[in-house]
Symmetry: C2
Subunit: 317 residues, 2 copies
């Protein structure tokens, strides 16, 4: 594990681990103990690389990483239809072992790609993730999820609520919170009323409104406009109020989702960008939910864990 020592691990093994997303590729050189020896980040995400450009993008990353002949593993959108090769989704529940046995090699390279996960809700409707499964595996050792459920939330453009238990990642649900915020802020009448500013009280006011509202998001959103029109919300507070409305709606809906899974939701873990996790933690506090930040560099940890299960490095514990 990064930052920790792994007894019994062969000291000759090492790994190139790549968290290859939509906008950014982040590559890590991990030493034989799974510690991060070096990291590079480049704007070489899947959306930024033209078709056929992935071999050159990888070469650029590896050169910056001063890599040797170590095995290579990548997670994220690099395995999507818009990525290098399309790696089929693995069905939930899935754990480090089942994910490790479903790695897909990229032809003519020594790169293996981690599959994304697919689950279906009670109505049979699918939900998907790519990359988050690796971060979740990096957040907890097997022993930490044995005999109990943990709720792990990964805030972002498409926020993921996941239940982790004995079978690994048991199920999950996606909320479009970040994308809704971006399109409303940039392209809607609500965004046109907003002026730059931060307002913690407005964020919490938005959260409370959504928690109290019987989940009428498309109605509640309009209050960002009317409160500004009637001078009950300052222009510099509109952005954080809007953010609070969307976070509150996600929180209320996520809590109902957990109830349907019969999983207690008083305590959750957050993985992701620290500033965004801090924002989520504030929203959860309004609802009386205890949100614990997960470890940093969860993707690198998760890739190391999967690589160990795949026998690419060291020994399987």
């Amino acid at each position: 594990m990064p930052g920790g020592s792994v007894p019994g691990l062969s000291m000759s093994s090492a790994l190139i681990a790549i968290d290859w997303g939509t906008t950014t590729a982040r590559a890590y050189r991990l030493d034989a103990g799974g510690r991060i020896a070096h990291m590079v980040s480049a704007p070489l995400g899947v959306q930024k690389v033209a078709a056929g450009g992935f071999p050159a993008a990888l070469a650029m990353l590896l050169d910056d990483l001063q890599s040797d002949a170590a095995p290579m593993i990548a997670c994220g959108m690099i395995g999507s239809r818009q990525g290098w090769i399309e790696v089929p989704y693995l069905q939930c529940p899935a754990d480090a072992a089942s994910i490790a046995s479903a790695l897909v090699p990229v032809p003519q390279t020594r790169l293996l790609i981690v599959p994304g996960l697919l689950c279906r809700d009670a109505t049979g409707s699918p939900d998907v993730m790519r990359g988050e499964e690796t971060q979740i595996l990096g957040a907890f050792a097997d022993a930490e999820t044995r005999g109990r459920f943990r709720v792990v939330i990964l805030p972002g453009t498409h926020s993921k609520w996941t239940v982790v238990g004995d079978s690994g990642i048991e199920t999950f649900a996606t909320f479009l919170t970040g994308e809704l915020y971006a399109v409303l802020r940039e392209h809607s009448i609500l965004g046109r009323l907003a002026e730059p500013g931060e307002d913690r009280a407005a964020l919490e006011r938005g959260v409370r409104r959504s928690l109290a509202s019987e989940a009428s998001l498309s109605h509640d959103l309009f209050s960002a406009r009317t409160l500004a029109l009637t001078d009950e919300l300052a222009p510099g507070a509109v952005g954080d109020y809007l953010s609070g409305l969307l976070l509150g709606a996600e929180l209320a809906a996520g809590r109902r989702w957990l109830e349907r899974q019969r999983v207690p939701g008083e305590r959750v873990h957050l993985i992701g960008d620290p500033a965004l996790c801090e924002r989520y933690a504030r929203a959860f506090a309004v609802a009386g939910i205890d949100a614990t930040p997960g470890p940093p560099e969860a993707a690198a940890r998760g890739l190391w864990r999967i690589a160990r299960h795949a026998g690419l490095v060291g020994v399987v514990p």
Copy 2:
């Protein structure tokens, strides 16, 4: 009333009635019987006219209308902060008489502007409309809303659910449905997956999903992506499915809102663009709600009714 005869009305009266919105200005010359003698429509909406440009815009409309010295009345965004002059909102409940007594003249013109309405929900949070109040008044004569409640829905960028009763427009709630559809379709990952096409079954599928989902809109929206990814939704059906999700969410939330007002919601009236009303009626049919289309040219009818109450034309009935 347009299209009907009004006994006792002075035949010398006539009115210029303008429905002056965000993108379009629609001006009507009404004869002494309240019938539409002539109509012009121009892209001279509030957003299209520069500050100080309203006198010229009005002159252009009047010229096209071949108007005489008749009184003039306008409703809509022309009375907003971005319009010609800002007309304060009138508090709900409001009827034709109270609205008529709150008309605001534009200095140096013979134009009177109809105030928009403001209501507050149980938590004190405000909601607003400008223009819709006039369309609602145009849809029903006093006798039609006496001793009973009518639910009137005006689909659009900002869809309005209104309760009309003995006191006129009793209360209302806005849903951002049209704007959410536009920003998601044009600027989100959901829109990027959509291809042109119409699919009535997909619309109804989206409505059903939202009705069944415990109102988790930001989660349900993501299903437009996952169903497309797993080939369970054709690219040409994504747009109508997304529309159905948003309509279903509005319908479910609107129904809960009516329950809180203790107003029965099995039957509603729709006012607005015929194609959009037809789409709403299909969504309502999925929920077993009977949706009746309102009269055409409701704004002209409403302006006539307000003008009569204000003594601008004919006699107050």
